[in-house]
Structures are given as structure tokens and as C-alpha cells.
Symmetry: C2
């Protein structure tokens, strides 16, 4: 809590880290870096002065700076803003991007960000390491940030052939220092997998919640909704702005996965139409067994 | 824990309650009745001797009996079995059903059970009070039973015009004694509302989980699935047998609701296809606001 009163001098060997967007994701990265001792000074950058002030009070960052100031000092820049803001930030950063400085991000989609980085950074593209920590919570903002958010969680990096190997290794080491498991895959693979396990569930939960909310008798429905409803719809409460950006950025993969889920729905619906006990049993049992196995393997209930 | 060693004599004014199926639902009803002092002796009936023995050890029931024995002594019979077993039980109970004895149930569907009760009980149908506690948990069996399961939860009763008003009042009072809020509606209304807030979410969650599990790269998908996936799929781990019965028993309402959810999905998909930012925002925002309002009203997160 007193760190910002006496900003430490840059420690030898420890990089100065600038974090753009000090909310749950960026703030937790800051907290975890500080806990691991892997960062020297931590600079916060953002649109909202009140958020930056709060992040400083909480000891997440050492000081708040403009993007231009931060670019003069930072060795590593983490972009932890909504996906829609990343391209503009990269364009603003490029002219003052010094050799050897690493940029990485925490965006939920990767093909669009890689393409934007390639277009805006040009021959400095190799300094950019695309990343995505698979972590989050219903809470937002620096108050929700915690050094343990990434502990035992997965972080995916999607390096391109021309990504600087040393920059990649340093970003991987920082995430591992935060307690995360790092997986590497192509940006295309990432987007297809995330469409499946994150974006389509949000699409379905939101579509369902919309239908219940718009029904003429929605009050009566919601009055009897229980814990199953609670779990199934929790993700639908997420930020509309953030999810609109994700759906648009990953539109092709989301629509392709959605088509496959619709085919699965058709299959169960046809079995139900036909009152085919064995087919319904088999379908539900495969889903139940897969979910129970996943729960036991991940130790998430 | 010692209750079963000295089975209490029937207490004056306190009904002898027989519970058929002493798992989570029936066992918790037993525990809550005992805690409220609203029951005299509690008799357990069931197919599995080991479950009944466990329920006795846990103090949920005072003794285990056959259905025939229980019908000689019970003043109130609660059917807490899977929905598919209720019609057979009613048929078996009818010949020995004494005047004034109340039968009630905890089944997840109501039109099919009301129809089965009418057909099997004939002119004794007025003694049957159809009910459905909206409570449950991932756990099953008597070990999971708890006196607090129904505390501040909703129980729906669906009396018919010829349901005995006194029997209805006694069942309502028992549930209120368990800490529940009791709502009354028609069986048809119940089935439509539950199709919406319980059965369709299970249909969607299971269809989605099946699709992920059957994908050629399901291992990779499941390796990166996070907390959103966890919440969205939790209900898909439920008993395939139980949910097959529910889907079949409430088939018409489930298919009708599912059709409306598909229309909502079409709407969001069309907005996404057209990259219509405003339409996507509006759709997601309505869903998010409705979910947040429900969460704040119910104090379920």
C-alpha cells in the first residue's frame, strides 16, 4: 500500500512493465508479477483516471502514466483492454516502440489481433507476443484483482513464425511466474477452440436468457427459477460490450461451432420427438459422463 | 442418530409420514419435517435396502417398511422417486389407501402425474396433492439430505378442482414448516414454466456438452475450458435416467419452449451474420440486465 509513495528505482535485471487497462485481468497480472518478484517498476496506463488512482491505492501499480510516457520507459507492455481497443493502441504505440521492447496482450480472440498487429507494427511485428489467459470472474475492475487469479489456470500463447523467440520465452516465463500453465497453439486453432468452450456457451446462455426475459410471463418464470437456471445463465450477465467485440472478432469460428451445436440439438430433439428412450438415454449419458470426467480431472465441480 | 433405536410411539396430533424414495429430495423432506416437529413417526420405503439402512443410520427415518406395511400406518405418503415410478406406485397403493390418508409427490412434471393419479386412484383422486419442490443439488442419496434444502426455496402445488381442500392445506403447511414458499398454479402452467426454467436449460447444456465431447479434438477443447464452461455445463452432469423421464413426461412443453429459444438464437445469429453492432449490443444487454436483476432479487449470484 505504500509502494507508490516511494517509487522504487528500476531494479537491475527486472523489467519495467507497463499495463494498459488495470481492471481484473491487467490488475491481477500486476499483482501476480509483483508477488513473483518478476517485475521492477509497474506502470499503469488507462482511459479512466479514477481506475488508475484506485489501482495505485491498492498497490497494484507504482504509478500512472500516459501511453507516450510509458513507452519511454517500459521493457514489457501488456495490453489488457477489451479486444476492440487493441488495434488502436498498437497503432499509437508503434512510432515510439524501441527495439527489444516486448508487447503482449490478454485478448480473448487471436487471429484478429495478430492481423491487426501485423498491419500496424509492420517490421516490428516480431516484438509482439499474442497471449490469452483463460481466467476471469463475474467481478470487474481493480478491486477484483488478485495475485492468485492465474494460479493453475491456462494461458494460451499463439506465436507466429516470425515472433521473436526470446520475446516469446520471456512472456511465457512471466506467466509461469504468475502460477499459470502455458500452452502454445496457432491463432486459428485458439479461436476455434475458444469459440467452442467459451464463446458458444455465452451465445447460448444469452439467447436463452433473452427468450425468458422477453416472454409475456417472464415474472412467473423467474420466480420459480432455481439453481440449475442460476448456473446455466451466470455467464449471460457478462458485459454486453465485451462480448459483442468477441463475437464480431471471432465471427467465423463462432458461427461454425454454433452450427455443430445446432446439429447436436437436432439429434436430441429428434430422439425426443420419436420418444426413443434408448437414444435419449445414450445421448444424455454421453454428455453426463463427459462432464463428470472433466469435473474430476480439473477439480472444478 | 439415536432416534431409530427407540422408535417413538405415534404422537397425538402428529401424522405418521411415509416417504417413498429416501434420497436427496425425500431424505431432506424427512429431515426438515423432523426439525420442524411437524411429523410423528417417519417411515422410509424404497427399492434399495442399503439406502434405507443408511437413511436410518443418519436419523432421517425411524424405520424402513414395505409399501404395504407403510400403507397400514401412514397418515401422509410422500412419493419422492423418479417421475417414471410414480404411476406404478399409485396403482400399487390404491387398494389399501384408507380414507383421509393424504398422498403427495415431489415429481418434476405435473400433468402426467395428475393424469396417472386420476386414472389409478379413481374416486380416491381427491386424496392426492400434486407438488414439486424447486430444489436439488448435484449430490444424490441420503448422505446429501439436509433439513435446510427447502429453506427459502419455492414449492409448487398444482391442485385440481376436485383435490380435497383440507389435504391441500395440510401439504402446504408441511412445506411451509420446512421453510419453503408455496405457490399454486395449474399443472399445465407448471409444466410450461418448468420446461422454460429447468428442462430447456438441461436440454441445451447437454446438447452442447455432447457436441464438445464428440468433437475429434475434444481433449484440447476440454483442456482449455474455464469457469464459464464449468457453470454452463454443470447441469449436464445430472442423471441421464432422471432427465430422460422428465423430457418424455413433459415433451410437448419442452419442444414448444425449445422452439422459442431457437428463434432467439436465430435472432442473435442473424445480427452476428450481418455484423449489426447495435442489434448485438441490444440483445446481449437485455439478457445481461435481466440476469443481473434476477440475481439481485433472488440473492443467488
Amino acid at each position: 500500500m505504500t509502494a507508490h509513495r516511494h517509487p522504487p528505482a528500476k531494479q537491475a535485471g527486472q523489467p519495467v512493465v507497463a499495463i494498459v487497462g488495470v481492471g481484473l485481468i491487467g490488475g491481477s497480472f500486476a499483482a501476480a508479477l509483483r508477488a513473483s518478484g518478476a517485475a521492477g517498476r509497474i506502470i499503469g496506463v488507462g482511459r479512466q483516471p479514477v481506475t488508475l488512482a484506485r489501482a495505485r491505492e491498492l498497490g497494484l501499480i507504482d504509478q500512472a502514466q500516459t501511453l507516450g510516457q510509458a513507452m519511454q520507459e517500459a521493457d514489457v507492455v501488456m495490453l489488457a483492454t477489451p479486444v476492440g481497443a487493441v488495434a488502436g493502441l498498437l497503432a499509437a504505440m508503434c512510432p515510439s516502440l524501441r527495439p527489444g521492447v516486448i508487447i503482449t496482450d490478454a485478448g480473448s480472440t487471436k487471429q484478429d489481433i495478430v492481423q491487426a498487429a501485423r498491419e500496424t507494427l509492420g517490421d516490428k511485428f516480431s516484438q509482439f507476443v499474442p497471449g490469452h489467459p483463460i481466467a476471469g470472474a463475474e467481478q470487474t475492475g481493480p478491486e477484483a484483482a488478485t495475485a492468485s487469479l492465474y494460479h493453475e489456470r491456462t494461458v494460451i500463447v499463439t506465436p507466429e513464425a516470425d515472433t521473436d523467440p526470446e520475446a516469446l520465452a520471456r512472456v511465457v516465463a512471466m506467466w509461469e511466474g504468475c502460477g499459470a500453465r502455458v500452452m502454445s497453439m496457432s491463432a486459428e486453432r485458439h479461436d476455434r477452440v475458444l469459440a467452442s468452450v467459451s464463446h458458444v456457451p455465452h451465445f447460448l446462455s444469452s439467447s436463452y436468457m433473452w427468450q425468458v426475459a422477453m416472454a409475456p410471463d417472464s415474472d412467473q418464470r423467474l420466480a420459480v427459477a432455481g439453481t440449475g437456471f442460476q448456473d446455466f445463465t451466470r455467464i449471460a450477465a457478462g458485459s454486453a460490450e465485451m462480448w459483442r467485440d468477441i463475437f464480431l472478432a471471432n465471427r467465423t469460428a463462432v458461427l461454425a461451432e454454433l452450427d455443430e451445436v445446432r446439429q447436436a440439438m437436432d439429434r436430441l430433439e429428434q430422439a425426443l420427438q420419436a420418444a426413443d428412450h434408448a437414444a435419449i438415454d445414450d445421448f444424455l449419458e454421453r454428455a453426463a459422463v463427459a462432464r463428470r470426467f472433466w469435473g474430476s480431472r480439473t477439480r472444478l465441480p
